[in-house]
C-alpha cells in the first residue's frame, strides 16, 4: 500500500480493473439518465468526481472519530453537504454549466459510487490514498459516461459534443438510430461496453480448484478425500 507504485495503483485501479460503472455496475441511474449526449455525460462525470474526491478526503479524516453505529448517516450528511455547496457555487459562478446539469446535480448525493467508496475505501484508509482513490474512481466514472454518451449521441443524433466548440456533426446521409437516444439504447450501449470491459479485465481461471475453494464442498461426497477433476 505504501510507496510510489502503491499510490499509483490506488489511482489506476478505478480506470479499468475496478471501474465503478463498467465492472462494479454502480451508479446506474445517472449513467443511463445523462448519457444521451456526450457533453452532459462529461459534466456529470466531472461533478461527481469533484464530490467523490471531497467526500473521500473528509470521511478519511474523520474515520477514527465517527462511531460505526452512525457512520452511514454521517457519510450521507457529509456527501449531501458537499453536493449542496457545489450546487450553490456552480449556480452563482457558472450558471450555464449549472443549467445543463439541471436536476442531476443534486442527485449526485444518492450516487452509490460515492457512498460505496466512502464505505469500502475512505473509512479504512489514510487521506492521501483516499484522495487518489477518489480521483481514479471519478476518472473511471467520467470516462465510462463519456464513452456511453459518445456512442449514444453519434448513433442516435448524428452529432458529437453538440453545443461545444469541438462539436462534430456527421453528414446527413448517415442513418440516425433514434433508439440510441432513448433509454433502451442506453441499456444496449451499456451492455456492450460492460462486455468489452469484461473481456479486457478477464483473469485466467485457475486450472484446478481445491476443496477449500470449492463452493459445493459441503455437499460433496469426495470432500477432503480426493480432488475432483
Amino acid at each position: 500500500m505504501t510507496g510510489k507504485n502503491g499510490y499509483l495503483q490506488e489511482f489506476t485501479k478505478g480506470l479499468l480493473r475496478e471501474n465503478p460503472t463498467l465492472v462494479g455496475l454502480l451508479g446506474m441511474c445517472p449513467t443511463l439518465a445523462v448519457t444521451s449526449q456526450a457533453v452532459n455525460a462529461l459534466g456529470m462525470g466531472l461533478a461527481t468526481m469533484f464530490v467523490l474526491i471531497g467526500s473521500n478526503c473528509v470521511i478519511s479524516l474523520l474515520r477514527k472519530i465517527i462511531p460505526a453505529t452512525v457512520k452511514l448517516p454521517c457519510y450521507i450528511v457529509i456527501i449531501a453537504g458537499f453536493v449542496t455547496i457545489i450546487d450553490f457555487l456552480l449556480h452563482g459562478f457558472l450558471p450555464e454549466l449549472h443549467e445543463s446539469l439541471g436536476t442531476f446535480l443534486s442527485l449526485i448525493t444518492v450516487n452509490c459510487i460515492i457512498l460505496g467508496r466512502a464505505e469500502m475505501f475512505a473509512s479504512k484508509n489514510p487521506v492521501l490514498p483516499s484522495i487518489l482513490d477518489g480521483c481514479g474512481m471519478g476518472a473511471g466514472f467520467t470516462l465510462s459516461l463519456l464513452a456511453i454518451g459518445s456512442v449514444r449521441e453519434i448513433l442516435g443524433a448524428g452529432t458529437w459534443m453538440a453545443g461545444t466548440p469541438i462539436a462534430l456533426t456527421l453528414p446527413a446521409e448517415f442513418p440516425k438510430l433514434a433508439i440510441f437516444s432513448s433509454t433502451a439504447g442506453g441499456f444496449m450501449t451499456l451492455g456492450v461496453l460492460v462486455a468489452i470491459a469484461g473481456i479486457l479485465t478477464r483473469k485466467p481461471l485457475p486450472k484446478e480448484v481445491g476443496c477449500a475453494g470449492c463452493p459445493m464442498a459441503d455437499g460433496c461426497r469426495s470432500n477432503g478425500k480426493e480432488s475432483c477433476k
Binding site: 449526449q37 474523520l62 452512525v70 450528511v77 449556480h91 439541471g102 437516444s181
Partner: protein, 168 residues
C-alpha cells in the same frame, strides 16, 4: 453510558458543522445566484424579443412568475409549466397589443435531453406566432407530447392573463 451517547453526539456535531458550512456557502453565494437568475431572464428577453428595456409590471397572476412590458408595447409573461418533469419548462411568452402571440422564448428547459427539448426548436416556437386561441396552436411534437402540452398550457395561460388584463 459513553457508548450510548457518543454516536448521537458525533452525528449531532457532524450535522451542525455541515449546516454551518451550508449557511456560510449560502450567504456567500446568495447574491450571486439572485444576480445570475436575473441575468438569465434579461438575456432571454433580449435574445427572444430583441434589444430594449424591459420593465417588470406590478400585476400578479396565479402561475405567472413575472410580467414585463417592452418599450414597443409588448407584454411578456414569464411562466413556468410542467412538462414531463415538474416545472420543467420556463418560457417567456410575448403578447402583442392586439392579443396575439408575438414570440416565445425558452428560459430553461429541464425536459429529457434530445426528446422533450425538441420544443425549444425556434422553428416550432415560431409556429405559435399570431395565435389568439388554443385552436391556432401548432400540433404537439410527436415523441414529445408531454413537453408540447406543457408549453401549450403556458401559452394558454399567458393568453388568458393578457385578456383579463386588457379587460380591466
Amino acid at each position: 453510558m459513553k457508548e450510548k451517547l457518543l454516536p448521537s453526539a458525533v452525528l449531532t456535531i457532524v450535522c451542525a458543522v455541515v449546516c454551518g458550512l451550508l449557511a456560510a456557502a449560502n450567504a456567500a453565494t446568495h447574491d450571486k445566484i439572485v444576480q445570475a437568475e436575473a441575468d438569465k431572464v434579461q438575456k432571454s428577453l433580449v435574445r427572444c424579443f430583441g434589444e430594449g428595456t424591459y420593465t417588470p409590471l406590478e400585476t400578479a397572476f396565479e402561475g405567472v412568475t413575472a410580467v414585463y412590458e417592452s418599450t414597443d408595447g409588448l407584454q411578456i409573461y414569464d411562466i413556468t409549466a410542467d412538462g414531463y418533469s415538474k416545472g420543467g419548462i420556463r418560457a417567456l411568452i410575448g403578447i402583442a397589443q392586439d392579443g396575439s402571440i408575438a414570440g416565445i422564448g425558452i428560459v430553461s428547459c429541464g425536459e429529457t435531453a434530445g426528446v422533450g427539448t425538441k420544443i425549444t426548436d425556434p422553428a416550432y416556437l415560431a409556429q405559435f406566432d399570431g395565435a389568439r386561441t388554443a385552436e391556432d396552436f401548432p400540433d404537439a411534437i410527436s415523441r414529445a407530447t408531454f413537453s408540447s402540452k406543457g408549453l401549450q398550457s403556458a401559452v394558454s395561460l399567458a393568453l388568458q392573463c393578457a385578456e383579463r388584463r386588457n379587460d380591466t
